[in-house]
Symmetry: C2
Subunit: 349 residues, 2 copies
DNA sequence: CACCGTTACTGTAGCGCTTTAGTCAAGCGC
DNA sequence: GCGCTTGACTAAAGCGCTACAGTAACGGTG
């Protein structure tokens, strides 16, 4: 019969409801309340029920700060993005990845702590602050670089961490393997299978481990299969992709197919080809590393390496949760395939 | 002579460095340390300098948990997304908005707490938990609905909150005004100015306040200017946009221009028109509410309402920070304009 | 019936920090 | 020399919660 709608409640400063309030009301001490709400033995069933009733009635919620002060988990995972805001805003990968991470995390009641940093040094500083403060239980690292200073720093902190994409030298740090070499082989098999033997690859930022892995696999494939192949360095900037495309198109012996390291670059490249009067895939085939709705609706539709970034995010989240819980981490491969669309076809004979 | 480097330190569990450690080493009490590190009067300059030196040397960082327990700010802002993961992954608006929010927040040392929720009820529960725990200092609400239950709930919690887009009935809650009606007028002025007098509007989810505001402005413009105008309900799903487009194209008197409520829908619509053999803008003009790189590179390029979602996020973050700091909140309008590209032109005579 | 083991609690000491009330010596004016 | 201020600290309480050492009552046992 206790009605807490508080009809004429004076709207003054609302004080926090604490276990002491519950204790008083239930006629026990705060210690007993703690045992009761945490499901630990030491209180009779009757008392426990009474305490829980009062707690519910008072709309009590445990103080997170007090709990982490006692060394409890913070139920949050941290992710720092060290890329320019424009890139994060444009590249569909990030929002998909984050959406995937969130979907899994939220299902388990975890939150995501997100920050952007200017550079990897700033990113490490944030990692450090979060971990020492116990604000996050685990950290997700994106875009690993060759000899990444962040990973070294994290290894010394000895905290649950998952590096997404590219394994690390630090064996104490888990990484979510992304088979960049295998994916590149899928792409090259596709193009080679169509008959292409002059392929160009317009890359993203080579400082990233995953990009350099792709480049290596590209070169190896070309050598092994006798394909003429050339990488042109880019940095995810569509303008750079335009320049690279124009250079390739104007070459004495232009490639018959171009692979772009991102959807944004592929689109920029394709529009450049169109403006140069080149037909896709008639004169040159185009393939995008990363799929999106845009690839499906553009004319011609763009053949793309589809990786399901949402699933990647989900997997990363699941793994970090397992790591936090101290369970064995089981690697789950993210399905990767080439979706054949209109932008790739047999080269002109 | 106190040397705490402990030469043969066994690498066991790393204990947290606390102000007590600093106090001991500096030969003062923890109270003095607190005064020193917080820049408060009560310690001599010499002592303060000594304390700060020791703190730096020991790499001390204040315990966030202890501080929030004392009622300090948590230096974080919360944002809950209540849309399907796929939509968040596809719509460029979200990543741009979040990137913008982050850019401003990070600059001031704040973090973003991000969660996804199934529905608005779950979203409110998360808000409540965050606020009562003091885990966030402020909350950002996106996609306000007509008679939004979340806003009511937040109003009763009396916590810094900014509703992005659409003002609220609750005058205690601040909102970041987005002039949907004005933007719709810009769009219609553009089309009407080109000579269109049969315009269709394929909408997003009408439960959202911003969508209904746009629809109202659309209707009003049409009535006032004697333009034949019709809204077709969508829900941001490209498939729905395709259906709507096909229906419009097949009508006895089809519209000469179609406005789509999102870039994803505009692209879907345009590809549908193409597959029906209709020329853009020859047979029908297309306009997208929301700009993106894709709009710029598609053939034809798409005329779009450009709102700079990154700036919107930045502004939202700046406002919530001002609100948290207790400063006066100054509304800063986000530049909005129609970017005229190839997809709109004069209707065929 | 003294003895022991449970059960169901209570009381209190922290976790790391802030804050307030005190303490104590030095300095000042008359 | 006395009272009084001032500056520079110290001591201790308290934020909300957990953990752990007690303790009182009860029931069973030989």
């Amino acid at each position: 019969m206790v009605d807490e709608t508080t009809p004429a409640d004076p709207p003054r400063k609302r004080r926090r409801v604490t276990i002491a309030d519950i204790a008083e009301r239930a006629g026990v001490t705060s210690g007993a309340v703690s045992l009761a709400v945490n499901g630990k033995p030491g209180v009779s069933d009757a008392t426990r029920a009474r305490i829980l009733d009062v707690a519910r009635e008072l709309r009590w919620r445990p103080s997170h700060a007090a709990q982490t002060l006692m060394g409890k988990n913070s139920e949050a995972v941290g992710l720092v993005l060290a890329r320019p805001a424009e890139v994060i805003g444009e590249e569909i990968f990030f929002s998909k990845f984050i959406a995937g991470v969130q979907a899994t995390l939220s299902g388990r009641g975890f939150s995501l702590m997100l920050q952007m940093a200017e550079d990897t040094a700033a990113e490490s500083a944030i990692h450090q602050a979060w971990i020492l403060d116990g604000r996050v239980d685990g950290i997700l690292v994106l875009d690993p670089r060759i000899d990444d200073p962040r990973i070294e720093a994290l290894a010394s902190l000895d905290h649950p961490t998952i590096v997404v994409g590219g394994h690390t030298n630090e064996k104490s740090i888990r990484s979510l393997e992304v088979d960049n070499a295998g994916a590149m082989r899928l792409i090259m098999d596709h193009l080679h299978g169509l008959g292409h033997d002059r392929v160009a690859y317009v890359t993203g930022d080579q400082a990233f481990r995953h990009i350099s892995e792709r480049m290596d696999a590209f070169s190896e494939f070309c050598v092994d299969q006798g394909v003429w192949g050339q990488s042109l360095a880019g940095n995810f900037d569509p303008e750079r992709a335009r320049e690279a495309t124009a250079r390739l198109a104007g070459a004495p012996r232009p490639p018959t197919a171009i692979v772009y390291d991102s959807e944004v670059m592929a689109i920029a490249g394709m529009s450049t080809l169109a403006s140069l009067g080149l037909a896709v895939p008639g004169d040159v085939s185009v393939l995008s590393w990363e799929d999106s709705t845009t690839c499906q609706v553009l004319h011609p539709t763009i053949t793309a390496l589809s990786r399901d970034a949402v699933a990647l995010g989900r997997t990363a989240a699941a793994e970090i949760l397992q790591l936090i819980a101290g369970e064995a981490v089981e690697q789950e491969a993210v399905a990767t395939r080439v979706v054949h669309r209109e932008s790739t076809g047999a080269p002109r004979a």
